[in-house]
Symmetry: C2
Subunit: 435 residues, 2 copies
Amino acid sequence: MPDKPRVVVIGAGFGGLEAARTLARLPLQVTVIDRKNHHTFQPLLYQVATAGISPAQVAAPVRWILRERNNVDVLMGEVVDFDLPGRIVKLSDVNIPYDFLIVAAGARHSYFGHEDWAPLAPGLKTVEDALEIRRRVLLAFELAERQTMAGHPEPPLNFIIVGGGPTGVELAGTLAEIARHVLRREFAAIDPRRTRIILLEGGARVLPAYAPELSRSAVRQLEKLGVEVRESALVTRIEPGVVWVGQERIPAAVVLWAAGVAASPLGKKLASELDRAGRVVVNGDLSLLAHPEVFVIGDLAAVKDEHGNLLPGVAPVAMQQGRAVAKNIARTLGNQSRRKFRYIDKGSLATIGRAAAVAQFKGLKISGYFAWLAWLFVHIFFLIGFRNRLIVLIEWAWSYLTYERGARLITGSTSLPGWSEPASEEKEVALPRRF
Amino acid sequence: MPDKPRVVVIGAGFGGLEAARTLARLPLQVTVIDRKNHHTFQPLLYQVATAGISPAQVAAPVRWILRERNNVDVLMGEVVDFDLPGRIVKLSDVNIPYDFLIVAAGARHSYFGHEDWAPLAPGLKTVEDALEIRRRVLLAFELAERQTMAGHPEPPLNFIIVGGGPTGVELAGTLAEIARHVLRREFAAIDPRRTRIILLEGGARVLPAYAPELSRSAVRQLEKLGVEVRESALVTRIEPGVVWVGQERIPAAVVLWAAGVAASPLGKKLASELDRAGRVVVNGDLSLLAHPEVFVIGDLAAVKDEHGNLLPGVAPVAMQQGRAVAKNIARTLGNQSRRKFRYIDKGSLATIGRAAAVAQFKGLKISGYFAWLAWLFVHIFFLIGFRNRLIVLIEWAWSYLTYERGARLITGSTSLPGWSEPASEEKEVALPRRF
């Protein structure tokens, strides 16, 4: 009995998982490889970063998700190279042969050549990123309280978010709620309501992928929540505790990076033709120009719509691509010709904060409470696992009613870049005062 | 108007929190200092370590817990020293004066002088500890799967728990369930059911604080769950990937430490008279021998019952002591004489695993399902926060019905001590096989 054709899928994000699930119904042997043991539901990661929910509520083990697909194996490991002519995927310690390969390795944040900014301004792509942001945000309030109690001047509690795309907008809106409501009554020496949340967008408007009137609505909703929005504000330098916009120096307690993404470095190992953001240029069926048995999908693929616009790096694009390549593999095995991938845009949703969001579906554009409700139901619906949906719903209902956040933990290091601990002065004795 | 007397409480564990809550009702100014921003509900920490629940479900911010006590301030920071004659607590950057001091700084695990074992065998005292144990346990299965797929011999999946107290017993029982049930169908190259869970107790019997018949019952219940229990098995050496019991060498995929505790090093700064485990010897009212205004409670205090037996390091002891010292402070302020602390033992409960536990209440001793139900209700009842109780109940009901675990995430490093990654061999091509 000859072996069934083997499909290797790299990356268990939205695209890779959808491909694996579709392939599981075919007479194939599928291997899914990911660096992490879990799929991350990235659209809700900002909720982990802002202490609303726990990592396990937006991340599920890849093995568990695919446990009932008997022809799908899962391997946790990092792909380091390919032997495209030999049809082999190389990990550090194991080589996996394939008949078809789907590369869905995604993207990381890009600091536009300023890699030294990375430790000063963490981005939000993984569970670890989210926990680091949560740590910095919560710790800033604690350090400010301690310094102020020690008799030092109250440090400026500026939270600066660089980048006004969906991630920057939702981080800014939620941080404003934390400062104004969640922590309001819990400190003695500082007043968390004096926190400034500053959203810096380098381009002309926030949420540039949305219609201009929705960008304007987003700014109004952000300002209502207490966020200072600055458009056409290009960050030129980041130092510990400071962000520069041109000649303007803004002190910062915490800096978060939501400005740019770069495709996975695996792109370079696949093709010589990459676009400016490192994405792989592919055929109409999403296969490599020189290798019809290799497909690239999701954030790693440079795919344009019929108007010549690059498809955005969002979950629906990756999922539709995952299904499309799986079906094209089935067609190839059945000696049918492949179909060109065509993206069906069902609309876009971006949340801003409590009862604040924008949404566009075809011609329909809505903002505010109803856009937020739509966002909420879509995201609960797509979240994996019944238990996660139930628990996230409980956490959200609770937060909405009480203005509390369910996961306000600081774990790991207790220092922050740019915060120097004032030296102890033997004689000084501070008497905390209630604010 | 003269200032109200100031009480400083060090440590927001069970004892410190209970003291602060009781003091909050008095005309005092209270400052609670903790290294973490959260109180940790240690009795359920093993559930975090075994991927059952999330850290936020057993840890609540100290500020949030005390948010409605207007005369209580919270400070996150590490106490480094005391000026007892000057009545000052010293942090690295702030000095806090006190009129009364309650030190409830708790304990850490002790490696009995073998501090080099710490990175090889993590213990379970903090949220960070629990996440490190979770990482190691889940990663061991992933690494074994990858090595076996790569054509290397299947590594021995031995999980060794050192120490047969309540923590060792509950870790062993729960790990057995993970290996036998939770992961059973999810791997292709390895069979998780072949995992060995080995519980090593150096003394004559597990759960030495319980009646001998309950120790025997615990062994039976553990063995039924698939744990190998070895009593009088003293660990003499730990190396990467290996545990030695005398001359016997046991290969280990993961080693966990549940063998001993040592009181906080702050004890040394308080008194010269410490017992063998570093606990501070105190007066009958829990005050320092030379400083009636300083109290020591919880795991840091060496307190004996009327039979001369040292009180165990459990939550009820710390909580009763916290209330007792708060009331003695009130008596002192009211010019009344202090009362001697007396522990009222309401019984003990230790869980072992699914429907398995032991319990003793005065003369009554029970094991198995009903002891487990009692354990479950007591722990849900004492868990802080309505939302946490609800979510933990949902997670437990789900796990009980489905044999699934809700927080199976690996975060952080992807290497383990004692696991050397086999070098890549260019020619080797492995074909995963379904187990």
